[in-house]
Symmetry: C2
Subunit: 199 residues, 2 copies
């Protein structure tokens, strides 16, 4: 129905997550009316990502170099490794400024239903990293959902025999939330994980 | 916080209509994990649009040629021109297969609050088109909202003195809708525009 190139653009935009067919049309018509320089800037940003984004050969974090900013930083403690599912989790944790160690990005979580087993994740590379005796603690920071918990359980079983300290991020009430709106699992974990009030 | 090229992509995506900062992040991370060939296909579709999409020199419809498919089609009646705001309105009307005349795309609607007056629209070009005496009827198919109505009123005032038949799309109840859910303006118009039941 639309001119070929417009339909192609609508089709491509419609494949993006969270953009339905109506949204794709809306974006396409916006771009038709936009300054061509703006459209080219978006296209360039896309191409740049395909060309420049690499993954750190140590921790699989997104990086524009062979090794990522964090792995290259001598001030980051090499004895603690925080294991996350995705690059965006690294960014979320970095934002807290609480963690001074290094990361290992698995590239997802174990999910048999999606055909993702341990071999699809960067777990072998993690074991190689642990070979040099420098690491003393592993923090499991996978998502607090079914797949994340399964991945954490699997990793705990693999890592405990190595004599490392293996920890998991605390579960509990989100700061700023209302107790009455917390779901029962979260509230139950908050009880189970209660600490002395003078901590 | 993100690697430069990733942040650039998030920024560019965030400028698209209907894509907020969270949506832009989500799309960017999806693209980071996607096959680079898919990302390049999207970038190419964007670039194609900036290069290949032209506007018909007669009616300002989107076209890949100097003159659009409809203006070039000898089977389309040149005596009736349907005036619409945007290219997407042409597509919507073409989909009905009801209209066999030609179009004129204004490129928007009169909206003083957005600084859009008659001079920002392709109204002068419309008057030039009407100069050759071939046109006998003008159908005003601007949107049934404040700006569209203002534009239709303005055009009616300009076109009536030329001795043309000027019509406006019927207002009324949408087919398939429930009468009780119609807003009062629509329902009022449906009353005012009532037709003989044996039509």
């Amino acid at each position: 129905m639309y001119e070929g190139v417009v339909q192609d653009l609508i089709d491509e935009l419609g494949r993006l997550p969270g953009v339905g067919p109506k949204g794709a049309q809306r974006i396409a018509f916006h771009l038709l009316a936009a300054d061509p320089a703006d459209v080219r800037r978006l296209a360039d940003a896309l191409l740049e990502v395909t060309v420049k984004v690499k993954f750190c050969r140590i921790c699989f974090n997104v990086s524009s170099e062979e090794e990522c900013r964090i792995c290259r930083d001598p001030r980051r403690d090499p004895s603690v490794i925080c294991i996350v599912e995705e690059y965006k989790d690294v960014v979320a944790i970095e934002r807290t400024r609480e963690f001074k160690g290094r990361y290992h990005v698995l590239g997802g979580a174990i999910s048999p239903i999606d055909g993702i087993g341990p071999e699809q994740l960067h777990i072998r590379e993690l074991m190689v990293r642990l070979g040099d005796d420098e690491v003393t603690e592993i923090i499991l920071a996978t998502d607090p959902n079914l797949e994340g918990e399964a991945t954490a359980t699997y990793l705990t079983r693999m890592l405990k025999p190595l004599g490392l300290r293996v920890t998991r991020l605390a579960s509990g009430l989100p700061v700023g939330g209302d107790l009455e709106y917390a779901d029962e699992v979260t509230l139950g974990r908050a009880f189970a994980g209660r600490r002395s009030a003078d901590d």
